[in-house]
């Protein structure tokens, strides 16, 4: 039941936040904050209430008949993987509410309505175990996100929002066709009409059909992740969205792509994924390098941070398609830590824009003397982003590289160059914005107490993940064993032992 509550609280909280704006401008913020906090506490109860036997991977389930004519169930379930994603969602949800506390001054009620509903959509995506329900939630989280971008975004918001919507909708429809193809092929071989994830696992497919269906799924998740040729919506959407929108886009929406690959693509289509591995790994490495190079050449601070996402999420793709224990653990760590570090960078850039009304690196410089706390936080998250040992991102990317080394040495070497390149863009950003002379003689207020609170939370989170990642890996382990159990042939395609 907790699972239903998690979603219902967000949906109702959104409605109440929307209505309450009639009476007070503060009320929607507190209602949203409260609803997400309650969800966070509830999901902690999932953790304490989970069954102790290690073999049972699912913590909790809800399974209702929804549309019996098609064999559609309203089936939510949570395992270690979903649980980690839930915690990330609620943490970043709180950050998103806090960081728009002063940024959003107009249409506050509708803003929080959309914010809560996009979170509800994301939670449903992480919980859905019925492919129809999954697609339903997948599409539904787009609409509030679209509104967040086109109503409260920056100058080119309509262009960016529309592009975001068209890219995801097009790839999403291809996934829907793939889901339907799988549904009918499953019926052909078993006589049962079902969208149930656990039943569709292990459907016998001809190799051509399996590859085609897998590609339908892959495209949808690759657009979200993003994988390089399909990434062009990302810099626009991240740059034009309001801060809370960027935090949710980078921290959560991209993770739904990684989650989908991990949960659906490889377990449902192990043979096709096996054949596709070389291409996926190559795309991952291209993404890592390309994102880093593009980030290096940006002058718009927010765009710079957006491109670092392309680079970091390349590691996630690399880890997932390497499909061994180390690489998968690395991928999940990268997903979580990227959510925190990039989310924090977006909050900082949003704070800068609120103060300076510009995101142009050329107009910055010497900000350290003006705003020491903000600059120090920025330094911290830049270091996290470039993979400083002791912070979470390092653990994730290091594990991915360890895992992918077993699959392909050459690609691992190239991927490592990506980490090297991240040093350049992160340090360049620090140098241009915060060090040097204050040529524009900026005089700006430093972090407010609210912002200090956000930063402290995220810094502590990254330090904890960096020094003691074991709880996360332990939580993920049973779920990972289950996923790997589905894939009997480990897709180690490029292995070349010395």
């Amino acid at each position: 039941m907790i699972l239903i509550l998690l979603i219902a609280i967000l949906l109702l909280g959104g409605i109440f936040a929307g209505i309450s704006a009639r009476w007070s401008t503060q009320l929607p913020r507190w209602i949203s904050l409260g609803a997400i906090a309650v969800d966070l506490v509830l999901s902690a109860r999932l953790w304490t209430g989970r069954s102790s036997s290690a073999s049972k991977a699912w913590y909790d389930q809800v399974d209702w008949n929804w549309v019996p004519n098609f064999g559609i169930h309203f089936h939510l379930a949570v395992d270690g993987l979903s649980f980690l994603m839930l915690i990330l969602t609620f943490s970043l949800g709180i950050v998103a509410v806090l960081c728009s506390w002063t940024e959003i001054r107009e249409k506050i009620g509708f803003f929080h309505f959309n914010l809560m509903w996009v979170l509800a959509g994301i939670v449903s995506v992480f919980l859905a175990m019925d492919l129809f329900l999954f697609y339903f939630a997948w599409e539904l989280m787009l609409i509030p996100m679209y509104f967040l971008i086109v109503i409260w975004g920056h100058e080119r918001r309509v262009y960016a929002g529309t592009k975001f919507f068209l890219f995801t909708q097009c790839s999403g429809l291809l996934m829907l066709v793939a889901i339907l193809a799988l549904y009918f092929l499953h019926h052909q071989s078993t006589g049962v009409y079902t969208f149930e994830y656990s039943e569709l696992l292990g459907t016998t497919l001809s190799s051509g059909a399996e590859l085609a269906i897998m590609l339908g799924f892959f495209v949808a998740f690759a657009v979200k992740l993003p994988v390089v040729p399909m990434h062009t919506w990302l810099p626009d959407a991240h740059t034009e969205a309001p801060t809370a929108g960027s935090v949710i886009l980078a921290g959560l929406l991209l993770k739904t792509g990684g989650y989908g690959l991990l949960r659906f693509v490889i377990p449902l289509f192990p043979h096709a994924a096996h054949r596709f591995t070389p291409v996926a790994l190559a795309l991952a490495v291209i993404g890592i390098i390309y994102g880093a190079v593009m980030a290096f050449s940006q002058t718009d601070l927010k765009r710079l941070v957006a491109y670092t996402s392309v680079s970091h999420l390349g590691f996630v793709l690399l880890g997932i398609f390497s499909w061994n224990a180390l690489a998968l653990q690395g991928a999940i760590m990268t997903m979580i830590c990227h959510g925190l570090s990039t989310g924090a960078l977006f909050v900082l850039v949003g704070g800068l824009q609120e103060r300076m009304h510009t995101r142009d690196l050329n107009r910055m410089g010497g900000l350290w003397t003006v705003m020491p706390c903000l600059s120090a936080s920025a330094l911290f998250f830049c270091l996290a982003s470039l993979g400083l040992p002791g912070l979470g991102d390092f653990v994730g990317e290091f594990l991915v590289l360890l895992g992918s080394y077993k699959v392909s040495i050459a690609l691992t070497v190239f991927a490592t160059f990506g980490i090297l390149a991240s040093t350049f863009y992160a340090l360049r950003m620090m140098q241009r914005a915060f060090f040097g002379p204050n040529t524009n003689s900026w005089r700006l207020p430093d972090l407010t107490r609210r912002e200090v609170l956000i930063m402290t939370m995220m810094i502590l989170g990254l330090l904890w993940l960096g020094f003691h990642p074991q709880p996360v890996l332990n939580t993920f382990a049973p779920a990972m064993d289950n996923l790997q159990h589905e894939v009997q042939i480990p897709p180690v395609a490029l292995r070349r032992q010395p």
Binding site: V67, F70, V150, F165, C170, L173
Partner: protein
């Protein structure tokens, strides 16, 4: 024809009777309230009689009409949508001082034409229903004589509809020459796969012209934007929903088997479907007039329906039924919003009339957003379940090329729906056209339609069960 036959025809007879009563009512006392009231009572009586008739079916009445569960389901849909149009007309004509009474008369006549079409199994009843519908529509489209656009639309519709009816008649003659009968079963029973189709194929092709014209599919779509734009908003709603529904039903009875038996017929409809999906969505991209956008989008939507029609399975018939219900609900709501926002001078059709609507009338704008998302096929609306059903029936029949075209063109479609959504939510303009209060009738209709739109989008099982019980196994 005996008493039971007459009883089976009750819904149609009640519709025809309503037309006479309304006419006499207008002659006795010219009153807008009275006329609208009589019309709605007639529709309600006819709708309720469907449940009484349901025990008698299936029953063939003469060789012209067949009353079965399939026909009754669509009769219900047609009468309900016509009643909604009547309520919207009441709101619309209350603000025009002119004489709105005769519109109800024409509306009832057109509805009875549609009712004949959905029960028809013979070319004679087909033509009879079609002409009753068309002739009433000429009057309805050009209802405002002083209106340049309305007249233009009416004349255009008159000329094109007559021409297409002529093609249809010629097609019927050719089919009769070949088969010697005018019952639809002649085409279903004849092996279309025979090596030489003789006059049959040209006959079918010409008759498709007549049907395609009413459906507004490419290449017979040229009238749609002008008629949608020029006609009064409730009339556009009727043209878009009720009359098209009736023709789709007829098409299913007439040629559903034909597409599966004859490669040529299948190919003919594939071309029409693909062209409609592409042209409809592409032409809508550059429109700034909401009514014209809805017109082009309807071209595309009937292309989608043809995809299911071509799939030709039992599932496809169900999918079409669901899609037609979803489309009817969605479009009626859309034109309901247009009706409410229209002023006595002009219909609210320009995109600018909708700018910032959300911040002035949040409920209306939210409903309109739901409509647009439903047309775009976004989840939690009926439109999504409809599109899902069509894709499912297509996948079931493995018509992959058509499905891929559907997916890609509907992404194009998304673009212009989003454009309207953005306008609804953008900043409120300086100049504020006043918006009148909703009358309780149209508020009830709009609210009810919006609830249906979301309710069956989230929980479609009851409607799916009804469709499976009534439509299932028609082919």
């Amino acid at each position: 024809m005996n008493a039971t036959d007459t009883l089976a025809l009750l819904p149609l007879l009640l519709l025809a009777g309503t037309a006479i009563v309304v006419m006499l009512g207008i002659a006795a006392k010219r009153s807008h309230e009275l006329t609208a009231g009589l019309t709605l009572t007639g529709f309600a009586a006819s709708f309720l009689s469907i449940f009484a008739v349901a025990r008698l079916v299936p029953r063939q009445v003469t060789s012209l009409l067949l009353i079965d569960r399939y026909a009754l389901f669509y009769l219900g849909l047609i009468i309900a949508s016509a009643a909604a149009v009547a309520v919207l007309s009441y709101q619309y004509f209350a603000k025009h001082d002119g004489q709105g009474e005769e519109l109800y008369l024409l509306l009832v006549l057109a509805t009875s034409g549609c009712a004949v079409l959905v029960t028809s199994i013979h070319f004679v009843s087909f033509l009879l229903g079609l002409e009753v519908l068309s002739v009433s529509l000429y009057g309805m489209v050009a209802y405002f004589k002083g209106h340049g656009q309305g007249l233009e639309a009416g004349i255009k519709y008159l000329i094109l509809a007559s021409a297409s009816a002529a093609f249809l008649l010629f097609g019927m003659a050719l089919i009769y020459a070949d088969t010697g009968t005018m019952a639809f079963s002649s085409i279903q029973n004849l092996p279309l796969g025979r090596s030489s189709l003789g006059l049959l194929l040209p006959g079918i092709a010409l008759s498709v012209t007549g049907i395609g014209f009413k459906l507004g599919v490419v290449p017979f779509h040229l009238w749609t934007p002008d008629v949608y734009q020029g006609a009064p908003a409730p009339v556009s709603a009727f043209v878009a929903t009720t009359s098209k529904t009736a023709l789709v039903v007829l098409l299913l009875r007439y040629l559903a088997a034909g597409t599966q038996q004859s490669k040529a017929v299948f190919f003919l409809f594939s071309v029409i479907a693909v062209a409609s999906m592409c042209a409809g969505n592409l032409l809508a991209l550059r429109q700034n007039n909401v009514k014209r956008v809805l017109a082009y989008s309807s071209v595309a939507h009937f292309g989608y329906i043809l995809v299911a029609f071509l799939a030709g399975t039992t599932m496809a018939a169900d999918a079409i039924a669901f899609y037609l219900v979803a489309y009817t609900v969605t479009i009626l709501t859309a034109f309901g919003i247009v009706t409410v926002l229209s002023t006595s001078e002009s219909d609210a059709a320009d995109l600018e009339d909708y700018r910032g609507l959300f911040w002035r009338r949040p409920v209306l704008a939210s409903i309109f957003t739901a409509v647009l998302l439903s047309l775009a096929g976004i989840p939690a609306t009926m439109g999504f379940i409809g599109k899902f059903y069509i894709l499912a029936s297509g996948a079931n029949a493995s018509v992959w090329p058509l499905i891929i075209v559907l997916v890609l063109t509907s992404v194009i479609g998304l673009f212009y729906y989003l454009r309207i959504v953005v306008t609804l939510f953008s900043a409120v303009p300086e100049r504020l056209p006043s918006i009148e209060r909703l009358r309780w009738g149209s508020a009830f209709v709009l609210g009810g339609l919006a609830v249906l739109l979301i309710w069956f989008g989230v929980y479609p099982a009851p409607l799916l069960n009804l469709i499976r019980a009534t439509i299932g196994g028609i082919n």
